[in-house]
């Protein structure tokens, strides 16, 4: 076959050793099926493309013209296929796992859908958002499976999925998922417009998109990432919008507020008393994670009169002969803890045990006994460390860990007023943040008591039956919240 179009296609795909060119003969015309075997379903190709052509008895009775008509009208094969004239598009189809059929005498290439089969891992438990009671499955890298998991949760025709392709080289399928009638239509259009205007070489994770969607330079995450289908489904029902990217199990959700980063799916699967208690603990420990080291330093160096007197003597005696100031001590311990944490995340499994032993013995015991750091400081740092892990969403935990250090400096140099000033600055910054028109600290600032049923506490479900949609206030009855 000497068609120039085919030649152009084969040139484009030159030096790709995994491409299979299967010659076919269809009613006297020669043709070729081009596909990459590792990313296509060979059974589908054999059964639904090749076999009908080679073994279908009825075909033998057809004339070429009839077949060509059927081909052109899209009913010739069991698999759906689309015609394309451009060899560039055909090449794209091949590398995306869609077999391309070229028949002499036909002006177009035919790209088959539904034959793509990427390697994917099995659906496993969620590793990073662990829940004791409740669904355990998590998203995987394959967008088809992820959508299937979501469809399993929400079975309603109003669940809409808009598809885009982003990334010149990765051509990642990106889906904007929302429930029509619950989510704000303007927001959907806005997000779609922004995503469509992204031009980048490749997208490997949803976070690549977040920086284009919101150009606010802030430490705080303006999108919520999750790998749990139940979390996504619940958010969709709150009027939020999910953005799913092929190739990553993390799904992005917008709009969000900081409170949603402090909530876990588990809260909804436990008894509401237990859930409310755990939420309160979580909130207090989130504050402790941010403030404890700086408060400790500020109080022991500037305001010792706050400490109860027996504790004062104990801490003072523990600090005897410690060569460093409280601020330096805290810095050293905190940095060591950060290093330990990062090492624990990256370390290969065989060596993992060693790290925990070294961490415990060296830092905990030996440093105190050698008189390098004081025991109360180790306690403070450990409690802070534990507190930062209590936060269900790791992005917020990272931010709070980071903000601890400037607050420590301010507390260590200016005392309590430094801590208050620093906290106030952080507060002022966070209040003025917006995630797509939703104030970041809603319902705390602005204070909307009606939404507190699901913030610090988790009121039982019947009480929330007539709840407002915090993320689409225009849809609320009587315009509440607007």
């Amino acid at each position: 076959m000497d068609s120039p179009r085919l030649k152009a296609l084969i040139d484009l795909l030159s030096h790709c050793a995994d491409i299979v060119h299967k010659p076919l003969e269809i009613l006297g015309q020669s043709g070729v099926l081009i596909y990459i075997s590792s990313i296509t379903d060979s059974f589908a190709i054999q059964e639904y493309i090749v076999s009908p052509l080679q073994m279908e008895p009825r075909l033998k009775e057809d004339s070429w013209d009839d077949f060509a008509t059927r081909l052109a009208s899209g009913i010739a094969f069991p698999l759906p296929y689309t015609p394309t004239e451009s060899h560039i598009e055909a090449a794209d189809c091949v590398v995306m796992g869609k077999p391309v059929l070229y028949v002499e005498g036909s002006p177009v290439f035919y790209c088959f859908e539904e034959a793509t089969q990427y390697q994917k891992r099995a659906i496993t438990e969620s590793q990073n958002e662990v829940v004791i009671v409740g669904p355990q499955e998590a998203f995987i890298e394959n967008i088809g499976t992820n959508l299937a998991l979501l469809r399993h949760k929400l079975k309603h025709p109003d669940l809409k999925i808009r598809r885009l392709t982003i990334g010149e080289y990765t051509k990642s399928a990106t889906c904007i998922i929302y429930v029509e009638g619950l989510a704000s239509q303007e927001l959907v259009e806005q997000i779609e417009g922004k995503l469509a205007s992204i031009s980048t070489k490749g997208v490997f994770g949803a976070s690549y998109l977040s920086e284009s969607l919101n150009t606010n330079l802030t430490l705080f995450p303006l999108f919520q990432f999750t790998e749990r289908p139940d979390a996504v489904a619940a958010s969709l029902l709150e009027g939020r919008i999910a953005i799913m990217v092929d190739g990553t199990p993390s799904v992005m959700m917008a709009p969000m507020s900081m409170i949603s980063l402090l909530q876990s799916s588990e809260d909804y699967y436990q008894n509401f008393y237990a859930a409310s208690w755990i939420r309160l603990v979580r909130f207090s420990f989130a504050l402790i994670a941010l403030l404890m080291p700086s408060l400790y330093i500020a109080i022991t160096t500037f305001h010792p009169q706050i400490i109860p007197s027996n504790l004062l003597i104990t801490i003072a005696s523990a600090r005897e002969n410690i060569p460093f100031s409280a601020l330096t001590e805290a810095f050293v311990m905190e940095l060591t803890f950060e290093a330990l944490r990062e090492a624990g995340t990256r370390i290969p499994k065989p060596v993992g045990q060693t790290v925990s032993i070294i961490g415990g013995i060296v830092i905990g015991q030996a440093a105190v006994q050698a008189g390098i750091v004081s025991a109360p400081m180790v306690i403070v740092v450990s409690i802070t460390g534990i507190a930062s892990f209590i936060i269900p969403h790791i992005q917020l935990g990272l931010v709070l860990r980071l903000l601890r250090f400037p607050l420590m400096i301010m507390g260590g140099t200016m005392g309590l007023i430094g801590v208050f000033a620093g906290t106030f600055l952080i507060y002022a910054h966070v209040v003025s943040l917006k995630s797509f028109n939703t104030p970041y600290l809603e319902p705390l600032a602005p204070l909307i008591i009606a939404e507190w049923k699901d913030t610090f506490f988790r009121f039982p479900f019947p009480a929330r039956a007539t709840e407002n949609l915090p993320f689409n206030p225009k849809r609320n009855p009587k315009g509440a919240g607007k």
């Binding site: 209040v431 602005p446 204070l447």
Partner: protein, 371 residues
Amino acid sequence: MEMRTSPWQLFRFGFVYFNSQSTVFLVPALLASSTYNAWMGVLGGYLLSLILLGAMIYIGSRYPELPWLQFGKSLMGKWLHGVFVILLLAWCVYYTSYDIQSFVLFFGSNYLRNTPPWFLQAVIAPIIMYTAMRGAKNIIYMADGLFVLILASTTLILLLFTQQANFHMLSALPHHLLPSSELFENSLTTLSWFAEWMIFLFIVPDLKLDKNAARSLFAVASVLSLLVITGWLLALMNFGPQLARQFQYPYLEIIRSMEPDSILSKVAPLVIGIWTTSMFIHSSFLIYAASRCATYFTKAKGHRFFIVLMTVFAVCIAFYYSNHLSLYQKHYYSMEVVIIWIVVECIPVYYAAVYLVGLLRRGKSLRLSRR
């Protein structure tokens, strides 16, 4: 970007805004000037301030969508309105300097003795600048969020103050009433502390001044007077009038007089920290209003520049006062300052009066034309 409002949001903002100055710094003035009858002056000031509040709401609701800077021009004429704008601007900056200096004195002399005042002022200034730059909407959101915390800590503190209070002293109140000659003067003094209502004219593009706003602000005035009277009573009952008048910061002294290991003495700096946030909100909003006044003359440009400039002015004045402490004390409690404050706080009354006169004139001309 529309503002998320909720019921009583203006009340929360007003409460946090006023909480910083009146509740802490008015009480020593009350204790110093009277023995058992300061509450009458407070009630008098409260009632007088309601008149000013009424005037502000009246004039604000005549022009619901327009900020005062714009409709004032049409009402008073360009030059006279300009004079008032400058007056308000100067007052805002001066008040902020008082805020800063009184805070530095309060905090520095008690907890950070060796730290020079300029350091504390230099720490406060960027925070006020940053917060004022967030805009009125975000400042109101922040006050919203802080409200619960401030309310809780205020209640806690007042409850803890009752621990060592001698409640039998309450029997003295009906026997010591103020003669009416002094009543007016005391009411005027407290009026100057309570009646900063014209600042609320600056919330206008974000929130509206309507019946709900009037209700919220009336609640603010009432709760505030109640808090001041309660605080004054507790200070009196803890120390008796002769000792209480000798203290510059009676609340701190109550805290100091608790048993060393009691909850209150340990929790005090944290409560003060929470109070500090309301002071930041107060100063930031004043600077924001001052910068809006300044941009009136530059046709709404250079908003951020003016914020920085106004804050720097305020800090310079505070710095001057920190080096001339007796002058500061003299000015702070003088009658001249009371008069200035009242003149500025009556700005809505002038505008309301001019508006009413205009109405009457138009009504008269209408009647004339109908004949």
